[in-house]
Symmetry: D2
Subunit: 139 residues, 4 copies
């Protein structure tokens, strides 16, 4: 499958007094990668466009991270995003964060689609299901 890769600089402001990237910032890195993944997959429809313009959102119901090695400047971080599971209303994506060719963390995210502003659960929108199936079909 065609992988989506999000490249990101790791800066001073992302690091903590232990002189490695702060765990809370690593969570942000993976989330940024997911937002960029959707924008890429859906021809510009990022989380912002979904929520502000299109009347739906996809809040998280679960996320988990396994941290394999510390992240620190100066090398960039590459987040590899792979869709794993497509349910009736939910989608599961995996993010693998790599620095210097080695896996720094592996994470998994489950989101449920909801209408806005009511936040009731809805089926995966048709254009998203189609785009995900096409992307997975390239595998």
């Amino acid at each position: 499958m065609a992988e989506f890769i999000w490249r990101r600089r790791v800066g001073f402001g992302d690091c903590d007094p232990a002189q490695i990237a702060y765990t809370g910032r690593i969570a942000d890195f993976a989330l940024e990668a997911l937002d960029a993944f959707w924008e890429d997959l859906l021809d510009g429809q990022s989380w912002f466009a979904m929520n502000v313009e299109a009347g739906f959102g996809m809040p998280f119901v679960h996320m988990d991270y396994d941290f394999r090695r510390p992240i620190a400047p100066p090398e960039p971080l590459f987040c590899h995003v792979v869709p794993e599971l497509l349910g009736t209303s939910s989608v599961t994506l995996a993010v693998s964060g790599r620095q210097g060719g080695r896996v720094a963390f592996e994470a998994r995210f489950v989101s449920v689609f909801v209408e806005r502003p009511g936040l009731s659960k809805i089926p995966v929108p048709g254009h998203i299901r189609a785009a995900l199936e096409a992307r997975i079909g390239q595998g």
Copy 2:
């Protein structure tokens, strides 16, 4: 067991265009609660004191979150921190985030103790083991 509860205001800057607290900020809330838990348990020895003054740290090897309900202003968030497991070199803590009396998220964190700056694994420091066992023993 005596629970540690961390109270936190949820502000405008913690929320996203869906007008609820951003997932990345919720990760930060739970981490803040853990840092405050250690400071309370260890008579002021927070993560900062461990890393900058005491020559050891406790980086995360795993964290997971289950999100039950959205978090939004104006009510404060209460993070309840409970130690769950104490290993040779590692410790597992649970954080339950509650707003308006209802559980908003449940999270679990596994850290491994390391010496600084080398980052080699070490046994749980004696004063931390003693403090955790005393706290758990109150249960």
Copy 3:
């Protein structure tokens, strides 16, 4: 005048590899204090309530900070918020951040009131003008 004081823990995640609070986080501390100031002054009407419920906002047109001393754990930071100037559409507030009894930074913020979602400039809403004048009058 009755000062508003916002107390905040300074944590590990707020600090950078220089082992002091990161400049970007200090900006956030002052902004949090302003949000809390309005919520206190306006009986619960924080920036969130203004923007999401009340149909207006108060985006910044200017902010400046002078940093006097580094901020670091373990002492809490106290942000003192003082209204300085009330114009037709704008308001200027000063924030003084103090740690251990000494001034760590001084900042000044100018906001303009706008209607939502159009973002056109509006006069300072009547209830805000009245509350500010009453607060200043206590001086």
Copy 4:
């Protein structure tokens, strides 16, 4: 003078319930641009390398921002960094943030060089003075 331009995606997590980039995040964008500027100018010596490896830092003594227009997805933000003034121990840099070809904010930053970990003021290190003068000389 050769301008340094830092390009950055503006994401969902950078925006607030007013559905524009949060002021605190805009502060971070400009700081990121400065960190990247130094890394570029000094052949890889970013703030992290200065503080963690080279025994000096350059904390801010002043920063100010004028906000001209709101920032929001989907267009990238371009931060143009220009050195303005080089003193004995201090340096002043300007950052202009542009989106869609229009200026969104203008900011100015004054830093003072200090040795680490003592934080006493030092003269601008020779290699930094030389690099800045060479860069300015290209103007």
